[in-house]
């Protein structure tokens, strides 16, 4: 009994070994090409799950099924208006035809280098055919500028004929002509980074600085102008207020003087003689003081009695 019991165990073990060598799993992110002595056998396996192959003679080649990254290395490229720019692009692609992919490029690393050739070339061609502004702008959206620069800027900034989206679409279109021969499907090409080369950047900075200076100077001069205007207004208002008041005051005074004159004349006209008599007496009272010498003659009215008493009395 003991000897007999070993045999089924051995058989079971053999079955397990054979099954484990022939079974393989495919995950959701994979697609598989089964090769026999290096030659593909049957259709690619794209369904995830448990699958079987002939053990020993067949090999499983796994490929990614997902959208894969392609990240271009930044390049210095000349635009149509001979400006050098740094361009950094990226794309997303996938292995659409694993069989063709397997036959033509074999693995991802060589696929990446094919994509480098295709996309870098397409990008180079596209950039060389357009002005910088076409690559920067996507639409002809009306931009808002600093009020001080608006007029100049509107003339300076040309309308774009194509714009970034269309240029990228052209790059993609051109690249898509080449990629299917490798079993590759390209979904999208985009510009990750775009900038002036280092030497041009300084010039751009200088331009930006001069633009700002212009605005700053305008603000300053506006401030000074406005301040001068207000000062002028102040002087005018001051003069106006004071002279107006002076005019009114003098008018009032003049009117009063005239009225007083009339009143006096009306009264004194009743007896100019009596007026001059009383007024003269008043004047004596007001003007004579202790510094006054009064030389009185005895033939005056006051002292006439010093000479003769009652001679004239009647």
């Amino acid at each position: 009994m003991k000897k007999l019991s070993v045999i089924p165990i051995v058989i079971a073990a053999l079955i397990v070994i054979v099954v484990s060598l022939s079974a393989y799993t495919v995950s959701e992110v994979e697609q598989v090409i089964v090769t026999q002595f290096g030659r593909p056998v049957g259709d690619p396996v794209t369904q995830a799950g448990l699958h079987f192959k002939t053990p020993f003679v067949q090999t499983v080649n796994r490929f990614d099924k997902r959208w894969l990254e392609w990240d271009g290395s930044p390049e210095q490229l000349p635009t149509r208006n001979k400006k050098f720019i740094w361009l950094d692009t990226f794309a997303r692609w996938r292995i659409a035809d694993p069989l063709l992919f397997f036959k033509s490029v074999r693995d991802e690393r060589s696929a990446q280098s094919r994509l480098d050739d295709i996309l870098d070339g397409a990008a180079r061609d596209a950039v060389a055919n357009y002005d910088l502004i076409e690559l920067v702008r996507g639409t002809n959206r009306e931009m808002v500028f600093a009020e001080e620069l608006a007029d100049v800027k509107r003339q300076e900034i040309k309308k774009v004929e194509h714009g970034r989206k269309i240029i990228l679409a052209k790059i993609l279109e051109q690249a898509r002509k080449m990629s299917p021969q490798y079993g590759i499907e390209l979904v999208d090409v985009r510009i990750k980074r775009l900038n002036y080369v280092e030497s041009d950047r300084k010039g751009v900075y200088a331009r930006m600085i001069s633009e700002r200076k212009r605005i700053a100077n305008k603000y300053r001069s506006q401030g000074q102008g406005e301040s001068a205007r207000i000062r002028g207004r102040k002087e005018r208002d001051l003069k106006q207020i004071l002279s107006d008041a002076y005019r009114q005051a003098e008018e009032i005074r003049g009117k009063a003087d005239a009225e007083a004159t009339k009143i006096y004349a009306d009264a004194y006209n009743r007896s100019p003689d009596f007026y001059s008599f009383t007024r003269t007496l008043d004047t004596y009272k007001e003007t004579f003081d202790r510094n006054t010498w009064l030389i009185l003659s005895t033939d005056g009215d006051l002292l006439k009695y010093l000479q003769k008493a009652g001679e004239n009395a009647q």
């Binding site: 997902r66 990254e69 931009m143 406005e226 207020i241 008041a245 009032i252 005074r253 003659s297 033939d299």
Partner: protein, 329 residues
């Protein structure tokens, strides 16, 4: 391939002599039970969902809680944090999050510098908040979703900034930039089938590039200066004019006072004159004398020196003028 897993290898049972079959069977059963429990039960945290794979194939999606799956690595589970808000930073990195979070933006200039629509250069730092909306797409459709998101976000931000002037992005356009970028990035993420929901693209700081910053500050300063100059002039105006108005009023009021005084005095004087005159007219001669003598009586005591000369001695006058000093006493 990250989600493939090993097929469990062949298991051979070798039974050492001297150990009873029963003991072996028991031990095998215990080991099997432990492995069953260890590989059969799993938990999914509250902010996750579990993607269950059988032989690598997606068979079901499970909610948070304790679950049972087919053991022995036949089924595997990948937890995906669908409720968690994830964040990517551009142009800076959080060094240490906390009460006082520390950031660094050194070395990320290339990430932030971008061309504006008027061919100037702006520096933009921003964040993207996102959430995994579709865990199946997130896991199985795109390799390296995070890198894809980062690259797409940079591209999109440059597209948005590229359609705006430097003035716009620095001032009013900030929120608008965020909104436009959110929409555009969501479109790209959908196109790539990343299964990601873009919650928010938010510019943190939008500044001019460092070498240009001082000139932008100068603009701000000159704006302040303009306001200051205007305010100063205005305050000078306010300092002078209301006072002048008051003074003008004073001038006019004074004149009015004078006028009133002048007229009243004239009226008074004339009334008095008329009153006296009316009486005078009744007895002219005597009144005239009385008035004269009364005046003299009033005047003479005030006079410093009085000299009486005879009517025949008029030539004495010149002599008197020589002794002018006597007047002082």
């Amino acid at each position: 391939m990250s989600y493939s897993y090993q097929q469990s290898g062949s298991q051979r049972l070798q039974i050492p002599k001297g150990i009873s079959r029963r003991a072996v069977a028991t031990a095998a059963a215990v080991v099997a039970a432990v492995v069953f429990l260890a590989t059969g039960f799993y938990t999914i945290a509250a902010d996750e969902v579990g993607i269950v794979l059988r032989f690598g194939r997606h068979v079901r999606t499970v909610d948070p809680g304790l679950h049972l799956k087919v053991p022995f690595w036949i089924e595997n589970v990948i937890p995906v944090p669908t409720q968690r808000k994830l964040k990517e930073e551009f142009g800076f990195r959080t060094l240490q999050a906390g009460v006082r979070t520390q950031y660094t933006s050194r070395g990320y200039e290339e990430e932030t510098l971008m061309l504006t629509g008027d061919l100037n250069i702006g520096s933009v730092e921003w964040i993207v908040q996102y959430q995994i909306k579709d865990p199946v797409n997130f896991l199985f459709r795109v390799r390296n979703v995070r890198d894809t998101l980062r690259a797409a976000s940079e591209a999109v931000m440059r597209e948005v900034i590229g359609d705006r002037s430097v003035n716009e992005v620095l001032t009013t356009g900030r929120t608008e930039v965020g909104v436009a970028a959110t929409v555009a990035l969501q479109n790209v993420m959908d196109q790539y089938e990343t299964g990601v929901d873009i919650l928010l693209v938010q510019p943190q700081t939008i500044t001019p590039p460092d070498p240009v910053k001082p000139s932008f500050n100068e603009v701000n300063q000159s704006e302040q200066e303009r306001a200051r100059l205007i305010n100063e002039a205005e305050s000078e105006y306010q300092e002078v004019i209301p006072r002048a108005r008051g003074e003008a009023e004073q001038l006019i009021e004074t004149a009015r006072g004078y006028a009133m005084e002048r007229v009243n005095e004239a009226k008074g004087d004339s009334k008095r004159f008329i009153a006296i005159y009316q009486e005078y007219a009744k007895a002219k001669d005597v009144t005239r004398r009385r008035l004269y003598l009364e005046a003299m009586r009033e005047v003479l005591p005030k006079v410093g020196r009085k000299i009486v000369i005879d009517e025949k001695a008029k030539n004495v006058l010149p002599l008197l003028e020589l002794s002018g000093k006597a007047v002082q006493k």
